[in-house]
């Protein structure tokens, strides 16, 4: 039997405004507990919310970037429930009329483009955090009132790969728009996934399961795949009705499994109603004409055209705005775009990833990387030498590129006369092998190259060595 997977995603994006959504407390991360609080975000009696215009602006930018309808007038509602991290006993959110509706974005999986609908994106306030200690719990309300944009996709995704592609695209868009840090570890890009599976051809959706709060792309993929398999197995075993129930499940990254969060789910009644403390939100006219920066899809297309990059490479380089910017700085320094791509995507990113350093904190600046590439291009150093230089620069970021080359003694010998001398010496010493070569054992060419390189202690320009050897042996 063939099955069809149906996935819809809800992403909570923390907007990177300086202050909270309904008060003027800072939104800085990692402060001492309950430092960033005031009567409003503590929910003290008598305190009232006042809308942060910046959050509205960012929501509108997002809506425009995904080609959505922006509601000029949207309504804040109260979502009522009790939890210690929720100071007012309700969350101010948007329910019936969200600020953004009916958007879309495009993903590419296996070379095929697909449109994914975005049902809505609405503004709301974040809750605080419960911190559980031995025998008791405390509440940190620094995060309470941080602006969130909840972005809800249509159930258009048909595989975990599509889900990841969607999330990566969404991640790139919010980063490009500079509306969120979208740092998954710090919780500023949080994903809830709704999954169901149905036999191919069946009209009705299967039973929907929600997987909550998964904090990396890798785990999301794992969680989805685990869940999909669980559903398919249940179909195959004929136990679908019993095993797959509408519920919320949690992903355990240690075991790679999902498990039921609650026994039998009581359907929560949040008793939404319009918040009487806030007037309907009117979007200022000027927000509709604010400039939208170049978005990932556009930038990727431009990279393909302007720098003649392959679609895949252009995709990698434009996944993050900082990386794209870094690339353009390298190219801008007068370096061949293809070389810039391979040195950045392979050599530099490889080294940064190994040490978990983001591109923004790279010890090797775009200017330095460009300089290294130039030294390869002008044959001062070899490709192998360049790798050593990059290693050195990672260790000692204060070094200039030429200093590093000097220190490592990597300056290539590119004087043909000097190389010719070395070649002659090697051929003289190996008269017998020259004989064999000339008799047809051409495999020995590599041996001669190796000997010359050894004689030059690796500094001879390998291309020149090749050239000269060829003329000497064949000519």
């Amino acid at each position: 039997m063939e099955y069809e997977v149906v996935i819809g995603l809800e992403v909570h994006v923390q907007l990177n405004t300086k202050t909270k959504i309904f008060c003027s407390c800072p939104t800085s991360f990692g402060e001492r507990e309950n430092l960033n609080t005031c009567p409003v975000c503590l929910g003290l009696p008598g305190a009232l919310p006042v809308m942060n215009r910046e959050a509205v602006k960012k929501a509108v930018l997002f809506g425009r970037a995904i080609n959505a309808k922006i509601n000029k007038r949207s309504i804040f509602a109260r979502k009522n429930y009790f939890y210690p991290d929720l100071p007012k006993g309700y969350q101010i959110s948007q329910f019936e009329i969200p600020i953004v509706e009916n958007g879309e974005l495009f993903i590419e999986v296996d070379g095929e483009e697909k449109r994914i609908g975005i049902t809505r994106a609405h503004l709301e306030e974040d809750a605080g955090k419960n911190i559980h200690r031995e025998g008791y719990s405390v509440v940190d309300l620094n995060r309470a009132g941080t602006p969130l944009l909840e972005i809800v996709s249509e159930p258009d995704l048909r595989s975990s790969d599509e889900a990841i592609a969607y999330l990566k695209k969404l991640h790139a868009i919010v980063r490009y728009l500079d509306i969120s840090d979208a740092n998954m570890q710090e919780g500023s890009f949080r994903v809830d996934a709704n999954v169901s599976v149905r036999p191919k051809g069946q009209k009705e959706f299967g039973t929907r399961v929600e997987i909550k709060n998964i904090n990396s792309f890798k785990f999301i993929k794992q969680a989805l795949e685990y869940e999909i398999e669980r559903h398919i197995d249940a179909y195959e075993d004929g136990t679908y009705q019993e095993e797959v129930v509408q519920e919320t499940r949690l992903f355990n990254s240690r075991t790679g499994e999902t498990r039921s969060m609650r026994g039998k789910e009581e359907s929560a009644d949040y008793r939404y109603f319009p918040d009487p403390d806030l007037l309907p939100l009117e979007v200022p006219e000027e927000f509709f004409s604010l400039p939208i920066p170049e978005l990932p899809d556009e930038k990727r297309r431009r990279f393909m055209e302007e720098y003649k990059l392959k679609p895949y490479d252009a995709g990698v380089l434009t996944a993050e705005p900082e990386l794209a910017q870094f690339y353009e700085e390298v190219v801008g320094a007068g370096v061949d775009p293809q070389m810039a791509n391979s040195y950045l995507s392979v050599e530099l990113l490889g080294r940064l990833n190994k040490k978990n350093i983001p591109i923004t904190e790279s010890p090797i600046s775009a200017q330095k990387l460009a300089q290294v590439i130039k030294r390869v291009a002008d044959k001062t150093i070899s490709g192998a030498g360049a790798k050593k230089v990059l290693d050195k620069l990672m260790e000692e970021p204060q070094l200039e590129v030429d200093e590093a080359i000097e220190k490592l003694g990597l300056k290539q010998i590119s004087d043909p006369a000097v190389i010719e001398e070395m070649v002659e010496e090697v051929l003289e010493k190996n008269g017998d092998k020259v004989e064999q070569y000339r008799n047809g054992k051409t495999k020995l060419f590599g041996y001669f190259v190796g000997q010359v390189m050894k004689a030059s202690r690796g500094k001879a320009n390998p291309q020149l060595v090749n050239q000269i050897l060829k003329t000497k042996l064949d000519g």
Binding site: G46, L48, D277
Partner: protein, 450 residues
């Protein structure tokens, strides 16, 4: 008692003497129970220097206890000032004395306070009205020059009528709600309770105006109200005949006498009928309780107030929130019910629709009238403990609720006494932001019935 107008002319030393005097008298008249401090055997709480103003126990004054006369808020001190309080302080007035109220402003008799009942200054067997009964009683009893109250369905005007003082509810959005503990956010307003209309204007002019901290505060320029010479302006007054006829005989007769006198003075009187006042009450108790059920959710014992620790979170919530009194619990339950899925459309949404109809009704009347005149209460002050049925208690607000549902300004002024020497109030309503008309109308009537 000196009036506010007079007190503002007093030398600082005289003001200090006056405060001492008030303190002494508050202790002597402990039985009144108008101030929370009278129950606690403490001096009247004081902040800043200047003319003393009594403050209802649901308005934040930095450093003061604020309990909304509820057990659940015992021990909680306000860390900030309400905007209205900031304005008092900035204008040489000094918060002085916490006044008793119905718990969380839910009631019409000040009997639901956790501290005890306040007595009517005209008859200790009777209630002062509510929920701002403490503020009205202390002004009526000469224990305060003036006070601040809050009005959600009549909570300033009804007790003012019962205590023979002037109580005014501004247009919704005219006075900042920042720092007023919310009962029903779309209906609540802070307003003055004073000995006469002139003082009401003075206090109103001080507390009114736009406040960026309150999103529902009207972003309109505020011009202080000026009183004209009474009788100079002739008003077009719409008299709500069916309301007056629903009131008890002595109130009814007195109001008709006043209407007649107004007509004689050259004011243009027209009779109007308002929708069945029971519709107002039904609408109000749906919308106000819905909002209250959410507004009072923050009192969960997690961050402030009086927590009762239980085994685990759920039990702690239950025990802590069980400290609410019967009336507060009733309204939270009612509000939770009308917002519940499956009932939302039938109650809350319908209530909102009726609210629009009521607004429309008022709008039409104001096309041909400056003022709407009617009774404040259906009866004179009733006996303490006499209204056991909550529905019967709710009917006390039938004539005042309309002004909250529509948001228009309204005032209660004393116009006479019953044969039992109990005060009779007259209710005057003006159109949105027409406080100047309202006060001048009230001033005219006040001088007329003197």
């Amino acid at each position: 008692m000196v009036t506010l107008k007079e007190a503002l002319q007093m030398a600082p030393q005289e003001v200090e003497e006056l405060k001492k005097d008030l303190n002494r008298k508050a202790k002597e008249m402990k039985e009144l129970g108008g101030y929370v401090e009278q129950f606690l055997g403490k001096d009247l709480t004081s902040k800043g220097e200047g003319v003393p103003i009594a403050i209802k126990d649901n308005i934040n004054v930095e450093g003061w206890d604020i309990t909304c006369c509820s057990k659940i808020l015992q021990g909680y001190k306000a860390p900030y000032n309400a905007t209205a309080v900031e304005k008092l302080l900035a204008n040489g007035l000094s918060p002085f004395g916490r006044t008793n109220m119905d718990e969380f402003a839910m009631g019409s008799s000040t009997e639901t306070s956790c501290y005890g009942v306040t007595r009517n200054p005209f008859d200790p067997e009777r209630v002062p009205g509510g929920s701002s009964g403490g503020s009205s009683a202390v002004v009526g009893a000469g224990l305060a020059i003036a006070g601040l109250g809050s009005d959600t369905g009549g909570s300033i005007r009804q007790p003012s009528a019962f205590c023979g003082v002037v109580g005014m509810k501004p247009t919704y959005g005219r006075v900042s709600r920042y720092g007023l503990v919310a009962f029903s956010s779309s209906l609540d307003q802070i307003g003055p309770i004073t000995q006469n209309v002139e003082d009401s204007v003075i206090l109103y002019n001080i507390i009114a105006g736009h406040d960026p901290k309150d999103s529902t505060s009207a972003p309109v320029e505020f011009k202080p109200v000026q009183l004209e010479e009474p009788g100079k302006r002739k008003f077009k007054i719409a008299v709500v005949e069916n309301y007056i006829d629903e009131a008890s005989p002595e109130i009814r007769n007195r109001l008709w006498e006043v209407v007649e006198a107004l007509e004689k003075e050259g004011h243009q009187i027209t009779g109007v009928k308002l929708m069945n006042s029971k519709i107002d009450v039904a609408t109000y108790y749906i919308l106000a309780t819905a909002e209250a059920s959410s507004n009072l959710a923050r009192f969960d014992g997690m961050r402030y107030g009086h927590r009762i620790e239980g085994k685990g979170l759920k039990e702690t919530y239950k025990l802590t929130r069980s400290q609410f009194g019967e009336e507060v619990k009733r309204r939270i339950l009612l509000g939770t019910f009308v917002l519940s899925s499956g009932y939302y459309d039938a109650y809350y949404l319908k209530g909102q629709k009726v609210r629009h109809l009521i607004k429309e009704e008022y709008r039409k009347i104001f096309q041909n009238a400056d003022l709407i005149l009617g009774p404040v209460t259906p009866t004179p002050p009733f006996k303490i403990g006499s209204k056991k049925d909550p529905l019967e208690m709710y009917l006390n607000d039938i004539f005042t609720i309309g002004a909250n549902l529509t948001g228009v300004p309204a005032i209660s002024i004393p116009v006479g006494k019953t044969s039992d020497n109990l005060p009779i109030g007259l209710h005057l309503i003006a159109n949105h932001f027409q406080e100047e008309t309202l006060f001048n109308g009230a001033y005219t009537i006040e001088q007329l019935v003197k």
